[in-house]
Every structure is written in C-alpha cells, then in structure tokens.
C-alpha cells in the first residue's frame, strides 16, 4: 500500500521546518506502511556537497566484528574520498550504520560515488548540494528521532511510509531512491511496476547500478537515464507514463522543483492542496491536515496527470 507525501514552499530560498512537516505527514499515514520510513529533504544549495552513506543494514547480521567493521568502513570511505580530491568539511554519524559527509569536490561526482560504493557493504543513499536522503526501519517518529530530522529547515521535502510487498524490509529497499548519479534528484513511489524485470535488465546493460530488489528503484534510474539523454524532468516523467507499466503514483524532486505523476488508470491515490504559500500532496488528506490545520480545498489529480511545481 505505502503512503507518500510531498511539500514545497514558494518564496525561493526561504527556509521552513520541512523536516517536522514531513514527520507529521508520514506519521499520520503510518497505517499505510509501518515497515520503514524515508525522507528526502532539501535545503538551499550550499557551497559544498552532502553525502549520506549507509554502512550496514540496521536489521542486518550483527556478528562479533560488526563494530570494528563499521569503523573500518568509515575510515575507508573517508580515505577513498580524499584520494579522489574531496576536501572534507565534516563527518557526522547519527547512528552506527550511517554516516553523513560534507565536502567539496572539483572532480567527477559519479566516480566518487562509484568508488565509495565499492567499499564492501556501503551504499550512497544521496549526494547533492541540497538533497539529503535519510531512511531507516520504523515509523516516522522513530526515524526522525534517531536522525534528528525534526530540526531540519529547508525548502521542500518528500517522504515515504513503506508497506513492503515484493522485496525485503531493510534500508536498501526503503524509499526515497536517489537518481544515482544525478545530484539532488530523488523519488518516492506508491504502487507496483509490472515491467520491472525488463527495465532492470535494459538499464543494467546500459551501465546503471541497482542497490535493491525493489521495483520502485526503476523509476529513479529510469528518470536518471532520460535526463542523461537530455530530457527535462517533466519530459522524462511524461514519457514514463507510457513506458512504465503497472499501478503507480510517484513524486520526484530536484533542487528547485517537485513533480508528481499518476498512472493512466488512476489506480493509486493522491490528494493535492495548492495555496500561494505552499503545495502539499499526499496519499491521504489526513496527512496534509497535519501541516495545514484547517478546512481546505483539495482534490485528486486525474489519471495520467504529470504536474511540476518550482519553489
């Protein structure tokens, strides 16, 4: 089933408490998916980059060497980044199995991400000047508390409350997905894609990397490939309606825009609220009402809808 949510404020770079907004929205939709919760949060573009790295699954095998291994992994990630010329400003780790690196780099970002992911057990969850993806097991309140997300101020955000259907309950299969290697592009999805295996084979042959068995990862990689081919985000989303089969509503975000696409049967829900101040959308109105606490005009966009807002 899954619950998805998005919020984008107008007014350019002005920062809002989007972390807290997203926690409220996702917690209100906990009944749609209590397995894992993920956030893609955006702040006004900084000078450097922020990279979120997963070192291990939070429910993975906890052997005697787990601590030592994660320590060595941390060191190795740092060493490899410096090796490729990254000037590291800070390394933070809200939990043992995750680390956040802020850095500057003049070289090739994809090469850096590839090299970091080459460290055994490591996954780059997000990379960008404004994007930060945080995802872990549990409901929104749990994840927000573990990673201190309620204090996050920024311009827009999307989130996902997952009910696992066809793949495992772990961080690798949790949303949002980063459109590797495109900085600052992320996707959340509610639905099932029926031509997943065909697309996965095609995209793997084209050199794209997959980190999970979750069908939703296709959307992020698909959009990345289309944009690499020169499509705008909106064009890529429009094209996806014909090329991806199944039931889906997905929300895609970039540094300054938030877009949503619905399949041509309108099989998955989405409620939309638009005002001068903000645009909020979610699988259920009850989530929007946690951010805009009054009677509001909302509606369900129709099947085949592709809509994009910029901040």
């Amino acid at each position: 089933m899954c619950g998805i949510a998005g919020i984008i404020y107008s007014g350019g770079d002005r920062a809002h408490e989007v972390g807290r907004d997203m926690t409220r929205m996702l917690q209100a939709m906990k009944h749609r998916g209590p397995d894992s919760t993920g956030y893609a949060l955006y702040r006004p573009a900084a000078e450097g980059y922020v990279m979120h790295v997963k070192l291990a699954e939070s429910n993975g095998k906890a052997d005697f060497d787990l601590e030592g291994r994660q320590r060595r992994q941390r060191r190795e990630v740092e060493t490899r980044m410096r090796e490729l010329g990254a000037r590291i400003h800070g390394i933070a780790g809200k939990s043992d199995h995750a680390m956040t690196v802020t850095f500057e780099l003049d070289g090739d970002l994809k090469r850096l991400a590839d090299y970091v992911e080459d460290v055994r057990g490591t996954e780059v969850l997000s990379l960008g000047r404004s994007l930060e993806i945080v995802k872990d097991l549990g409901d929104a309140q749990t994840v927000a508390a573990d990673y201190g997300l309620d204090e996050f101020v920024g311009t827009h955000a999307i989130g996902h409350a997952r009910m696992a259907t066809e793949s495992d309950v772990d961080i690798a299969n949790a949303h949002p997905y980063w459109a590797y290697p495109f900085p600052d592009v992320a996707v959340v999805h509610n639905g099932q894609l029926t031509n997943y295996h065909g697309w996965r084979r095609r995209l793997e042959r084209a050199g794209h990397r997959f980190q999970s068995d979750c069908d939703s990862e296709i959307i992020a990689v698909y959009l990345a490939e289309r944009m690499a081919g020169g499509d705008s985000l909106e064009d890529a989303m429009r094209r996806s309606l014909g090329e991806l089969d199944g039931a889906f509503t997905y929300i895609c975000v970039t540094e300054d825009a938030l877009g949503v696409a619905k399949d041509e049967l309108g099989a998955k829900p989405l409620v939309l609220y638009e005002s001068d101040e903000l645009v909020a959308l979610a699988s259920e109105e009850i989530a929007i009402r946690k951010v805009v606490d009054r009677e509001i005009e909302t509606y369900d966009p129709y099947e085949g809808a592709v809509m994009v807002w910029t901040r």
């Binding site: 209590p34 409901d139 049967l265 099989a267 829900p269 109105e285 005009e297 369900d300 099947e303």
Partner: protein, 275 residues
C-alpha cells in the same frame, strides 16, 4: 434494528470495556478503546459534537450513542479533520451533518441517514449504501459510491476514477467532472455526470444508465450511446429539483450494448458442483 442498537450500547456504556487493560496491539495500529465520551451538546432532538480531539472510534461510538441510545434525529459533527471511516454503518433514519472534510470510506454501509458533508471526501465515500442521501459540497476521491444498492449520492465538485464501480442501484450525481472508468462494472442504477468523463466510460457495465453532459474521453468495453426518452428527462429533472441543483444541462445517455451477454449458455451444473 434492535440488535444493532444493543450492540452499540454494549460497547458504549463503558462496562464491557473497563475490564480491558490493553491500550495498543502488537503493531501499535489499533486503539482498543470502547468507551463513549458522551460530550456532545444535546439540545432537544439535536446534538453537536466537536470531534477535534477524539479518535475515529470515539467519534463513531458517540454518534451511535446519540442516534441509537439517546434517540436523536439530527447530529452535527464539527472538525472531522479528514479522518477515515466516519459515520459508517448507521442503520437508522436521521440527519447527520459533517462540518468539514472526511477521509476514506466516509459514511459507508449506511441504510437510512441523510448526510450532509460540508467539505471534501476521500476514496470510497458512501460505499455499499443501501438507502439514504449523501450530499458532498466539494470534491470526492476515487470509487465514490462503490457498489451502492440504493439512495442518492450528490457530489457538487469533481470525483476521481471508477465512480460508482459495481453500482447495483441508486443515483449518483456529479456536478463536476469524473475520472477514468466511471460506472465500471455497473449493474443497475443511474449516474448523472455534469462535467467531462475520463477514458473507459461504462467499461464492462451490465446494466444501468450513465448520463454525461461534458466530453467523453472514450467509451469502455460494451458501452454504447442510448436513446433518450421522456422517462430519462423526468428522472433528471426530478433529481435536480429535489437537491436544488438548478436546471439540468443537456445530457447524453449511455447504456450497456449487451454484446457480451452470454447468459444463454449456462454453466453446466456438474461444473458448479466441482467448483
């Protein structure tokens, strides 16, 4: 009807629930809380309930207490706050007004009430309604009036996809547009859509009538345009008059082409036995 009233009382007087100590289930999803708050302001035959700080279960429990136990006929609920499953399974003649929006499955499984919703509703509003009236001042999500068997559902805004899926009776009126597969698998009843409809209108319908004023994106399998009769005009005008919707727009009528009817070749009874 009596047994229903007693069920509501049993859950409502608190005596049954007092012995229950669990406050959450293993997944933390369900609130095991059967007590009725009894906080509605009652004035003669009418009552007003502010639902702002109440859980869904408490709101529905209070509503049942007011209607079945106190015997009231007119209840207004303030601050429904887009919560799901409010006003479900009400089986008595009464008037219920929601001052605000509802979430999914609002007023499902009802038999008798006249419901006024001054806001929007989510998916599956009035699903399985047996009789009664549900009037929505704003938009509705998908699956509005799913499988209703009777009653009138009036939506003054737009609706999502599959409006009146599996409809078996009653009337659905939409003043705005409707999404794809409106009247999907419809078996009986009527829908009057004053705006446009999405692709697949009346797909796989068995019977019933769809009236559309706006553009039809495409017809579904075995849905064909029907011949307009005086009875159609009488029905539409009567419904518009009852709900004060002004004069009806010019409508086209769509019915089942019955090309997929294969009821002559009945299933052999020995095969049914095996199944």
């Amino acid at each position: 009807m009596d047994s229903v009233a007693r069920d509501a009382t049993g859950a409502g007087d608190g005596s049954a629930a007092d012995g229950v100590t669990a406050t959450y289930d293993a997944r933390g999803l369900v609130e095991l809380d059967g007590t009725v708050p009894k906080i509605a302001r009652i004035d003669g035959e009418k009552a007003v309930l502010d639902a702002r700080d109440l859980s869904t279960r408490k709101i529905n429990g209070e509503l049942r207490w007011l209607l079945y136990e106190e015997g009231l006929k007119d209840v207004t609920i303030l601050n429904p706050s887009a919560r799901h499953s409010l006003g479900v399974g009400i089986l008595t003649r009464c008037r219920i007004t929601f001052e605000g929006s509802l979430g999914y499955f609002g007023c499902g499984l009802i038999d008798g009430p006249e419901v006024q919703i001054n806001g929007r509703v989510g998916w599956s509003v009035a699903e399985n309604m047996m009789s009664g009236i549900v009037v929505i001042e704003s938009n509705a999500g998908s699956l509005a009036g799913a499988a209703i068997r009777g009653g009138d559902l009036v939506i003054k805004g737009q609706t999502g996809a599959r409006t009146g899926i599996d409809q078996k009776g009653g009337t659905i009126i939409v003043l705005g547009s409707a999404g794809s597969m409106t009247g999907f698998m419809m078996q009986r009843g009527r829908q009057i859509i004053c705006g446009d409809v999405g692709p697949g209108l009346g797909d796989s319908m068995y019977d019933g009538t769809l009236y559309v004023a706006g553009k039809v994106a495409s017809l579904g399998i075995d849905c064909v345009e029907g011949e307009w009769t005086d009875a159609d005009a009488e029905l539409v005008e009567r419904k518009f008059r009852i709900y004060g919707l002004g004069s009806p727009p010019e409508l086209r009528k769509f019915v089942c082409g019955k090309k997929l009817y294969n009821y002559d070749s009945l299933e052999p009874s020995e095969r049914k036995l095996v199944l």
